[in-house]
Symmetry: C2
């Protein structure tokens, strides 16, 4: 493992996962666009706001965060995925496997296949094709419902696609 | 089982499930509002459009179909649920159980508890609290991603909430 500036690390990677707060998403990607050209960019950012009623979906002018990434990175292969994974579950090494599926959205089949395969490397997870880029919004936003599930059931919820 | 006009049936029921194409949703509910007063109304309508690229989400001025129902039925208890159930799976009596969860969204706890319990009566299903009315949109719209899953994997996909 190696660290470095965002631009250096992005430039050296074959595939880059964008996991930042939505507030800094557009600015970061605009800055990194040259370094990310020609690469697969996996966006897992959720447009989530909070108020006294809990979590809610922030509007994104492009329709979704993944579409925003695609607009800012015209020379990259942008895929949306990994929104529903609980960071707590990922960090809990006492559990032998995770429990859920990774919904993968995008318009480039080869990039999606790669990201689905990557998801499948995590124990207990599968990467599932979940539609085109224009249908990314609800996949991202469903994370906000999982936050509601977590609060109600005191859990770290995920999602599995049944029938696949 | 008994049939009748929409208004007669709605007026005689304790709980009404709205399962109509989105195109007729607002008109129907506006007309039935008096008959539905005081009742639990379960909306499972998906705002889905189709074009040459497949299914996509239709914009709803109120934010979601369930919020549209709530706006049109101020004297009813409106809950969103049952969006992700495959009609084909429901009709296939050769399968002993269904496989999935029913995500239930709304703002009235008692009505939601009732709908969750109702969902739990279907073999293999659970009713899961999935957040407030304002977070209904992505639950409805996720059905469109399941349509993409169905096309890709030749299946009748559903959703299960893991960790609950």
């Amino acid at each position: 493992m190696q660290g470095g500036s965002n631009a250096d690390v992005a430039g050296a990677a074959d595939l880059v996962v964008v996991a930042v707060p939505f507030a800094g998403h557009a600015e970061l990607l605009a800055e990194l666009a040259p370094a990310l050209a020609g690469k697969v960019v996996v966006d897992c950012v959720v447009p989530m706001g909070w108020d006294e009623l809990g979590a809610y979906v922030l509007d994104v002018a492009e329709g979704s965060v993944t579409q925003q990434a695609a607009a800012l990175l015209p020379d990259s292969w942008v895929v949306g995925a990994f929104h529903h994974l609980s960071a707590v579950s990922l960090e809990d090494l006492s559990q032998p496997t995770l429990d859920g599926d990774v919904m993968v959205v995008g318009d480039d089949r080869a990039a999606m296949d790669l990201v689905q395969a990557l998801a499948g490397l995590l124990p207990g997870l599968r990467g599932v094709y979940a539609g085109r880029l224009r249908n990314a919004r609800q996949v991202e936003a469903l994370t906000i419902n999982l936050v509601s599930v977590n609060r109600r059931y005191k859990t770290h919820a995920g999602v599995r696609v049944t029938g696949v």
